[in-house]
């Protein structure tokens, strides 16, 4: 395929694996931060089972001298401490790549690693045996060596022992935790990254915990010494520090959380669920913060279930506080009735929907975009809602702010969809701008305002939006009910009133459609006058699509990318405009049935014939998308459906 060779200066795809709970995450974060300190851009993805300790997890970190937003197939450098990582991932390392492994696992028979699915074990054993290798880790290493991969055996226990000695620590077990820093340090040393970056990354990661910093810095230094003394051979690729602008290292969850704080969210309710709770935990850890002229706070409430989460947030919103809740599919399912209540009572409430593999518990820790149609339609009866979908980490932040603005301007529930791939990616970005999006509270009454008596919470208006008072506002008494109601908010089942009230509520969506600027509804990526290919997508697929377009451009294929950012109100005219003049359209989505393509068909009448879908729970890689798009271009046809399958 095209120019996807990553084994080059500063273009490195680093992977670390290990048992859940063994420090894979912190190792990757420290390594990422060290590289970011050296000026590189980092895109990291985290893959894990729904398990706390023992099952395999891994973290891939893509380094680049320019910003990147997707993963790639080949691994340049694999760091490991256990047998399982080698059995699962040695295969993915490129021929000129590198592997660090723990000496002590060499004799482990593959048969014995029972955390790996039996079929997978057998496949690996067959592969080794047919290549003439022993069916154990030693065989894996031999096989890799045969492919020209650079192999680095290390003795983690030794280094831990040396560190303990240096620190005068007699209890070795106290130091076991530094193994993750050792893996990062061996990697950094082999890749030529100066140790000062690693030390700084350790300091920044453990912030004020002096003892932990000292222990880890000591271990890192010994790991660097060991590497420099024992492995003299230079790798054909390395990390070379570059000058770069100011950046932050952040995940999708954190970006949403910061967006909520900046956007004025002051009550967040949640019931724990992956991959949503990280956001609420970040908020709780930052519940008391600085604002101009004093202190601000957010009240984070862990509720008894998601029904309480949505209804409590709605109760809070009735007081005028901006309130939100975060969940994923199973929790969102429980919120549906509550959301309908907020819909009929025109309460601004924001639901961040982290989408993961469904249905039921599905694949709790894996990514999927299977909830689009559910988010659009979840309800008995009809009520207006706004649905927005973020495509990258920066959008997560800005969309979180926009969500609250929309909710208050149109007085309705807003669903903000963030897929797991996005929530759990850890990336470097330029700093976020707190004042880029002004806070707009719509027709929220300021108590000194004029109003007619009696105050009518649901006054019929041309744009469908009525002046909104909040609980406790003297002179603005109102009623709410989940029953159909009159302008005062009292139960009313008269047919005329029903029609007028339905019209009023639904009209708000038309108002929103008119008022929301085009660029907040769709994004067009194209620098060419005439295009051969129009790619349509939404959510986290954005990163891979943009990079594929660069590859295509080098080959002379002019492509444009239409990103749907607002799925309700659906930007009918704008999407029609682009798609009706497109030569070849391909829809890219991470679900089974190409849900957005179906929504487009429903809204515009345009049927997209070529779809690329992925639903194995793993994010789209650059390589597989590139190949799939090439396939579509070379032979477009009716009802072509390409299924992507990359991922471990």
């Amino acid at each position: 395929m095209g120019d996807c060779d990553l084994s080059d200066t500063n273009r490195i795809n680093w992977k670390i694996g290990g048992a859940q709970g063994s420090g894979v995450d912190s190792s990757a974060r420290i390594f990422s931060r060290a590289c970011a300190l050296a000026g590189l851009w980092v895109y990291g993805t985290r893959e894990y089972y729904s398990n706390i300790k023992g099952l395999h997890s891994y973290f891939e970190v893509r380094l680049s001298p320019t910003p990147v937003n997707c993963k790639v197939d080949g691994v340049t450098f694999l760091a490991s401490f256990d047998a399982e990582t080698l059995i699962r991932h040695a295969e993915t390392v490129e021929n000129s790549g590198a592997i660090i492994y723990n000496n002590t696992v060499l004799q482990t028979p593959i048969e014995k690693v029972d955390t790996i699915n039996m079929e997978v074990r057998q496949r690996v054993i067959r592969r080794l045996e047919s290549g003439g290798f022993t069916p154990d880790v030693a065989g894996i290493i031999k096989e890799a060596e045969g492919r020209g991969i650079h192999i680095y055996p290390v003795q983690y226990d030794d280094i831990i022992g040396q560190t303990a000695k240096k620190l005068g620590e007699t209890q070795l077990s106290r130091l076991n935790k530094i193994i993750n820093v050792l893996a990062a340090s061996f990697s950094g040393a082999l890749l030529g990254l100066d140790r000062s970056y690693m030390f700084k990354a350790i300091e920044q990661t453990f912030a004020s915990k002096q003892k932990i910093i000292q222990m880890n810095v000591e271990g890192a230094a010994i790991a660097y010494d060991f590497t420099e003394n024992n492995f003299k051979e230079k790798l054909p690729y390395s990390i070379v520090p570059i000058k770069n602008s100011e950046r932050i290292y952040i995940s999708g969850n954190e970006a949403v959380a910061l967006g909520k704080l900046v956007g004025g969210c002051r009550v967040q309710t949640y019931y724990p669920i992956t991959p949503a709770s990280d956001e609420s935990e970040f908020l709780e850890a930052h519940e008391y913060f600085n604002v101009s002229g004093g202190k601000g706070s957010i009240l984070v409430v862990q509720t008894e279930d998601e029904i309480a989460a949505i209804t409590m947030a709605t109760g809070a919103a009735l007081t005028g506080a901006r309130a939100g809740t975060s969940t994923s599919g199973p929790g969102f399912s429980l919120m549906v009735e509550g959301m309908g209540w907020a819909g009929i009572n025109e309460v601004p409430v924001v639901i961040t929907l982290y989408s993961r593999g469904g249905p039921s518990t599905g694949m709790p820790t894996r990514t999927e975009q299977g909830d689009l149609k559910f988010a659009l339609n979840a309800s008995h009866g009809e009520f207006p809602r706004i649905v927005i979908c973020s495509g990258d980490v920066k959008e997560c932040f800005y969309d979180a702010i926009r969500a609250f603005n929309y909710a208050e301007r149109y007085q309705l529930p807003v669903i903000h969809i963030v897929d797991k791939g996005l929530a759990n990616c850890n990336v470097t970005i330029t700093p976020l701008d707190a004042s880029a999006i002004p806070i707009e509270r719509g027709k929220l009454i300021t108590p000194d305002g004029q109003h007619q008596q009696p105050y009518k919470r649901f006054l019929f208006t041309e744009d469908g939006v009525s002046e909104r008072a909040v609980l406790g506002m003297p002179g603005y008494r109102f009623w709410n009910t989940g029953d159909e109601h009159d302008e005062m908010g009292h139960i009313n089942e008269e047919p005329d009133n029903r029609v007028r009230m339905m019209d009023k509520r639904m009209r708000k969506l038309e108002t929103a459609d008119k008022e929301i600027p085009v660029e907040e509804k769709i994004a067009i990526f194209s620098d060419q006058k005439s295009v051969d290919l129009t790619i349509v997508s939404w959510g986290s697929s954005k990163g891979a699509i943009l990079e594929v377009m660069e590859l295509l451009k080098k080959e002379g294929v002019a492509a444009e990318f239409l990103q749907i950012r607002t799925a309700s109100p659906f930007p009918v005219e704008q999407v029609k405009k682009y798609l009706s003049r497109a030569k070849l359209i391909v829809d890219v989505e991470q679900n089974y049935s190409a849900q957005m393509a179906k929504v487009i068909a429903e809204k515009t009448g345009i049927m997209i014939e070529n779809v690329i879908v992925k639903y194995n729970g793993r994010p789209i890689s650059l390589n597989e998308l590139y190949q799939a798009i090439k396939l579509v271009i070379s032979a477009p046809r009716k009802n072509r459906r390409v299924v992507l399958t990359h991922g471990a």
Binding site: R266, G294, T303, A308, T311, T314, A321, A434, I439
Partner: protein, 327 residues
Amino acid sequence: MVLKLTDVRTDLFNDWCPGCGDFGIEASLQLALTEMGIDIDKVVLFSGIGCHGKIVHWTNTFGIHTLHGRTLAFAQGAKLANPGLEVIALGGDGDGFGIGAGHFVHAGRRNIDMTYIVHDNGVYGLTKGQASPTQRLGEQTKSLPQPNINSGINPILLALSTGYTFIARSYAFNTRHLKETIKKAVSHNGLALVDVLQPCPTYNDIETKAWYDGEDRRDASGKAVPRIYDVNSQGYDPVVTSKMPQEDFDRKIEQIFRLSNEWGNKIPIGVFYQEEDRPTYADRILQRIPTYVEMPPAKQDIFGTDNKSVVDLAELSRELAIDATEI
């Protein structure tokens, strides 16, 4: 301003069945509101779904008629966001102990300063009389095709075990007692439960007004001998403090256990449990967010000039910053 009953009533048509105990609850609540001298603009009533739910529409305060079983969750959200509100949640027994039982339990754990009044009529009124969670095993109210196959729950003990700090029972047709109980519950600093025995003349033909009033039992002079009696006027003291000796506390709990299970010939009403010194949810938040009460979520300014966010984002994202200055 001294409020009259007409100030706290709307003029909407009340469609409860004639003789429904809900009328007694409505009158007692509204009287309590007029007599308490509280700022009526700060009062918010929440209700669930069931016959009881319409009470908020008959009452001239902020009134939020929520979903079946969710009154407590909505109400807690509002109170947490604006602790300056006087929040009273009302619910049915099916609403609160059936579909909303989870919220009932967890509200106790939080001990938010508000009041919860349950219209306890032993049936699902609005869906035509099915057995509610408080109906007793083997009872067969009017519309049950078969006798009730489940045991009834004991709301007093459930509340006690989950952390409610004020637990009372009253009777819908003893307006004076109910009104006074509601006043105490509202004044209580913490989560207060008032379980109100509420005759449903349409579907509950067992626990009727006549039955509670003891019309079927007459003394020598021919006067009815009521089943309901006031425990507090008989000397029972509900007050519990964290400083009281363990044995006294244990004795109180035993007493509550016994009293709350009394049924049939003698049915106690009154305050069963009252604990003033357990920290409320607001007290607990204050430990972490010192500005919570003066600047709760509902009162914070979220933007400044040019509608710009007031949040100091640089400070908030300091730990995320890649600060390479000292390398």
